[in-house]
């Protein structure tokens, strides 16, 4: 479904390689979690896969279509939800989703059915005809997801989709991810939430300093699920620091009204 081979990307003004020789294959119906610290190279890898940024070497193919050689067919099979939830705010939710549906050539009956379905499960009935600029953070995220799924993509890519969402919305999205994968579609998403990843992913990849360090099987593997957190901190090195740092003492700062006034 998604084949990434030796993907390498270095930004012109950076000293380090953001995606360093990354390779993996995703199967049909699989949910794959992409883990790593901030700045590890997750978003860069995702942007290379989706065609947002060019990469220096390697290959990316979506459903057998090379993203560089046959980008239109590759993109036709892909849906993407960015980490910043940017959508065209001057349009209404329905206008935006319809606009994206036009670009993916979705038939009228399909889009009516899907918009009704998503509006219902995401609880957006009251907001779908309002201008997006009035939406909350979570509502924008949901519209992004609706637009990404309006053409029923075989590969659904999400960059930190749960960030800033309320528990109800998070649960809605997790449920839909499972449902989408059960239809034989593949989901590739980056996240910082190890609990969610453990709960829904079949496999996870841990990336550190631009390198894909390890791919771990989670489906039907209780031992790997239990060891995921430990493994994550072992690879990324973040867990050790937590216990060695001390928080500044409360009495080292003082505040009084004259300070505020100045």
């Amino acid at each position: 479904m998604l084949a990434v081979k030796e993907l390498t990307k270095k930004y012109p003004n950076n000293d380090y390689i953001s995606a360093d020789n990354i390779s993996f294959d995703l199967r049909e119906g699989e949910i794959f979690g992409f883990l790593g610290k901030n700045g590890a190279g997750k978003s860069t890898t995702i942007k290379c896969i989706t065609g947002i940024i060019p990469f220096d070497s390697g290959n990316v193919s979506v459903c057998g279509y090379d993203i560089n050689k046959d980008p239109i067919r590759a993109k036709m099979n892909m849906g993407y939800v960015p980490d910043n939830h940017s959508v065209i705010e001057k349009l209404t939710g329905r206008e935006y989703v319809n606009y994206v549906a036009d670009l993916y050539r979705v038939s009228k009956s399909d889009r009516i059915e899907r918009i009704r379905y998503f509006t219902n499960i995401f609880n957006l009935e009251h907001a779908i005809d309002k201008q997006i600029k009035s939406y909350s953070h979570g509502m924008k995220q949901k519209i992004c997801i609706m637009a990404a799924l309006i053409h029923e993509p075989k590969l659904w890519i999400l960059d930190e989709p749960m960030m800033g969402l309320d528990p109800q919305s998070t649960a809605d999205i997790i449920n839909y991810m499972s449902e989408h994968s059960k239809k034989g579609n593949t989901i590739f998403f980056s996240s910082h939430n190890l609990d969610i990843v453990k709960k829904i992913c079949h496999r996870v990849g841990i990336v550190n300093a631009g390198k894909l360090e390890k791919i771990i099987e989670l489906e039907n593997n209780q031992a790997n699920q239990s060891a995921l957190e430990e493994e994550f901190f072992r690879i990324t090195g973040g867990g050790l620091k937590r216990n060695t740092l001390t928080y500044p003492s409360a009495n080292t700062t003082s505040t009084n009204s004259s300070d505020l006034e100045n």
Binding site: T50, K90, D102, L103, K130
Partner: protein, 555 residues
């Protein structure tokens, strides 16, 4: 008090752009801005001097009426400007939400922002009203005392408009909220405003130029003088202000002016203190309020859907509508006014054959202004630029759709300009100096130039886009591509216009062979030249476009 000063300082610094990183580019940009501001200011003062000369040193001078009218006009303008500053800076400023999180109350925010509005108004009085009184003093040989009195009048002239602005800002906010999402109405109002403003400016300029040319004050006929006399005797409170400067009934007028000012200032203070906090909160709340459109699912072809989206993004933005749609719709009338002015002056000095060349010049300048919007074709995508990369539509196709929109809008505007100019200046009144063939030629050349300038503008933006957008998703500042394209367009306009004007009078020869004998000959040459520029710009835009577009990086 410290909080008020901190907010005021922050406001002033952010408005004049200080506190940002000082780069070499920023310094050059500042110097260029100061230079152009000085040039514009000098032109303004010179124009003011000539207008003043008509009333103050003409055949029948009317100095008192001059003072009443100029003071009145200045105070009305100050009221409008101050209302705008208050509405924008006090009630609709995005930083209010930020400020209210800190330990400052609504009264402190109001006081700081009101002082800022007052200072802005005082600056207008100092730089624009005081020169009027200085010109008056110079032309009427006034004593030195006049110049001091004039300075002392400035706070008084500023305070009344400031107080009235505080009172009318409240209904203006309600009106703004009412028309906020009525985009067609806003666009219509903007077009009317642009046309009236431009027409007023051109009529004044024509009067000044005619006066400067032959001292014939067509702008100030006897009827006009009588009207001004009658007006001056009736328009209170402006005549009381004028009395103080004119030296007539000074004490009584000063007492009346001070009493009025104190009354309005107190009323404004009491009203604002009671309402400002509530309105600021309401404005924050309404800022994110949006309209609702019940649309239905409708399948559109990809090209139509892309075009529609481009159009809606422009139509639903106050800034973009004004910069692009209002200018494109108002341009034909502005072309007419410019042509009217230039042809009446050119006709008396060098003859009517200059009109086609002038039309060419003016039409191309307006094309340049309209098409400059294409210089931000990519940058305007802002935070949603990624969408253009992930959708299954080839980049060249997306760019072609943008190009089509710019071509259609600019072509419509040029066609309307040519029809208006052709029908007005082709008549006997203007000596039949503009023929149908002239208009067809100018239109054809303009069409090629629209293609050329649009392609160049988009190419530049693909090369160096700036995705700096504000909270509303709109570009914060026009990028340097806009100025580059305007400079290039103006150069083309001058070259094409002057070339046509010259060849209307002087044949161009190489050796003994005449290459271009009249305007028709120049049209052929310019058609060929504009065609070459259009084709090369088009090829430059689309050559390896996918690769160049693919390399654009979000910032």
């Amino acid at each position: 008090m410290n909080s008020i000063l901190t907010i005021l300082k922050f406001d002033i610094l952010s408005k004049i752009g200080m506190g940002r990183k000082i780069t070499k580019q920023a310094i050059i940009s500042l110097i260029i801005n100061i230079f152009f501001s000085l040039v514009i200011y000098t032109v303004f003062i010179t124009g003011l001097y000539f207008i003043s000369a008509i009333t103050l040193s003409g055949i029948v001078p009317i100095p008192y009426e001059y003072l009443v009218v100029t003071t009145g006009a200045a105070m009305i303008i100050e009221t409008i400007v101050c209302t705008g500053i208050l509405v924008k800076n006090l009630y609709y400023d995005g930083e209010n939400e930020l400020l209210l999180r800190f330990p400052v109350d609504g009264g402190q925010i109001f006081t700081a922002k009101a002082i800022f509005a007052f200072l802005s108004n005082f600056a207008i009085a100092l730089f624009f009203v005081y020169p009027i009184y200085v010109i008056y003093g110079v032309m009427t040989n006034a004593s030195i005392g006049h110049y001091f009195t004039s300075i002392l009048m400035l706070p008084l002239i500023t305070l009344l408009p400031f107080s009235i602005a505080n009172l009318i800002a409240l209904p203006v906010i309600n009106l703004t909220n009412f028309i906020k999402n009525r985009f067609a109405l806003i666009l219509a109002l903007m077009i009317i405003l642009v046309i009236f403003g431009f027409a007023f400016y051109m009529v004044m300029l024509k009067g000044v130029l005619e006066y400067a040319q032959n001292k014939s004050p067509t702008l100030l006929t006897n009827d006009m003088r009588n009207f001004m006399r009658e007006l001056a005797s009736k328009v209170i409170p402006f005549n009381w202000y004028a009395n103080i400067i004119y030296g007539d009934n000074v004490i009584v007028s000063l007492l009346i002016v001070m009493a009025i000012t104190i009354c309005f200032f107190t009323l404004a203070l009491v009203t604002s203190k009671k309402t400002v906090y509530r309105i600021v909160l309401k404005s924050i709340e309404r800022e994110s309020e949006a309209f609702e459109i019940k649309s239905v699912e409708k399948v559109r072809p990809v090209a139509i859907s892309l075009l529609r989206k481009e159009y809606l993004l422009i139509f639903r933005s106050l800034n973009y509508s004004f910069q692009y749609l209002a200018m494109a719709i108002a341009a034909p009338l502005m072309v007419y006014f410019c042509n009217d002015l230039a042809s009446s002056i050119g006709d008396t000095s060098v003859g009517g054959r200059i009109i086609p060349g002038l039309t060419m010049l003016v039409v191309i300048i307006f094309i340049t202004i309209i098409v400059s919007f294409a210089s931000t074709a990519i940058s305007r995508e802002g935070n949603t630029f990624y969408l253009t990369k992930i959708i299954p539509v080839p980049y060249r196709y997306q760019i072609a759709i943008k190009l089509i929109l710019y071509l259609v809008v600019a072509s419509g505007s040029v066609l309307a300009s040519c029809i208006i100019v052709g029908s007005v200046f082709g008549g006997a009144k203007y000596g039949n100096n503009v023929k149908f063939s002239d208009m067809i030629s100018i239109f054809s050349i303009a069409e090629f130039l629209i293609v050329a300038l649009s392609c160049m503008a988009i190419s530049n933006d693909i090369k160096t886009p700036t995705f700096e957008v504000g909270k509303n998703g709109e570009l914060i500042d026009a990028n340097k591509n806009v100025s580059t394209n305007i400079i290039f367009g103006c150069f083309i306009a001058v070259f094409f216009g002057v070339f046509t004007m010259i060849t209307s009078y002087v044949p161009i020869k190489i050796g003994s062979a005449t290459i271009i004998n009249d305007a028709k000959g120049s049209y052929v040459a310019l058609l060929i030249l504009s065609f070459i520029i259009a084709v090369s710009s088009f090829l430059k835009l689309f050559f390896r476009l996918d690769k160049r577009y693919n390399n654009i990086k979000e910032q």
